[in-house]
Symmetry: C3
Subunit: 142 residues, 3 copies
């Protein structure tokens, strides 16, 4: 299962929680009746195909949090630092390894088990671009 | 499977390795005899429900390592930096996206395959609080 | 499934994509004919057993990107900062929690679904050493 995200700025966090939930529902809807149901109680992998865009989980209520994350990461990995790579996006490569290329979210009865304030974000670090996000439902116990 | 962790400071790393091992044992104990045993050779997901507390793996011998991690993260994301979010915990939100909300640890014969020095930690960045940790055992091969 | 990586410098990113692909092929080759095939469409966990070496995904074309990652991480967690831990590798412990100890890569028909520019790297932060990498194939849907 995969979907695309169109970003609109060089650096921004785009909430993809709903798109991931839809992909999970679609994956589970395809299950044979004979399934043990373990898929519905496993986890969902959300993976970015890109080296200047990651996936992270953070607060989904106050949009200032995501702006603070963008600003804080810019202080950690400044665009204007000394970099060898000539494409002007080395800061984005570093930020991607810092937040990571994916998240893995537990499922319970087919629903993502997210905390009250948790949303799933595509973290764009070299946009605007169209990004591809891959989703896998992994069966589990617990 | 889930458990709670009571933290005692604003920022600290709490070793939860034993609690995770107990949750894995409990999940596996519930397996039907007919199981293929793949669950015992898969991986365990350890997931934080929070946006100012993450999960990480680091050294479990010298407690100075965890203190250095707290101090090093405070230099990267200073509490007193310029932040928009008004709750005074934006540094904690950033630190959580940096260390990440979860870890996934390989299992072998039902036991976590951790290196000699590896422990699993709840990384508290806005405590003291009671935190919830979710655990899933995912079957696997390898 | 596990393999070793011999690093040659204190800090470097070593491309292990091929070794991971080989481990996935080996794990899948052992499958019974009766398998549902879910393993071939799940995900692969790549896990470091170490607290001063992580696993990350980044650009596999221009080697300057990995050098920029090493330099950028050294600016974030300087070796010469004030640290309590006396072994002179606290920067490496922090960098390992920042990039993380593992990655989880989606599989499709038994092949890793990596973006055009994505490679899997062992991130060495206290070498040169021989490092152990653990691999697990987790079945899935999607």
């Amino acid at each position: 299962m995969r979907f695309e995200v169109r970003t609109t700025r060089r650096e921004e966090f785009v909430d993809i929680t709903r798109a991931v939930a839809d992909a999970v529902a679609e994956a589970l809807s395809g299950l044979a009746r004979t399934s043990s149901g373990a898929e519905a109680n496993g986890a969902v992998l959300v993976f970015s195909h890109h080296t200047t865009a990651g996936i992270t989980i953070n607060e989904n209520v106050d949009p200032d949090v995501c702006r603070d994350l963008v600003d804080g990461l810019a202080r950690i990995a400044p665009c204007e630092a000394r970099w060898r790579h000539c494409e002007g996006n080395s800061d984005g490569h570093l930020k991607t390894s810092l937040v990571g290329p994916s998240v893995l979210v537990p499922l319970e009865s087919g629903r993502m088990v997210l905390g009250t304030w948790q949303g799933i974000y595509l973290a764009e670090f070299d946009g605007p671009r169209t990004r591809r996000v891959e989703v896998r439902v992994l069966p589990g116990l617990g």
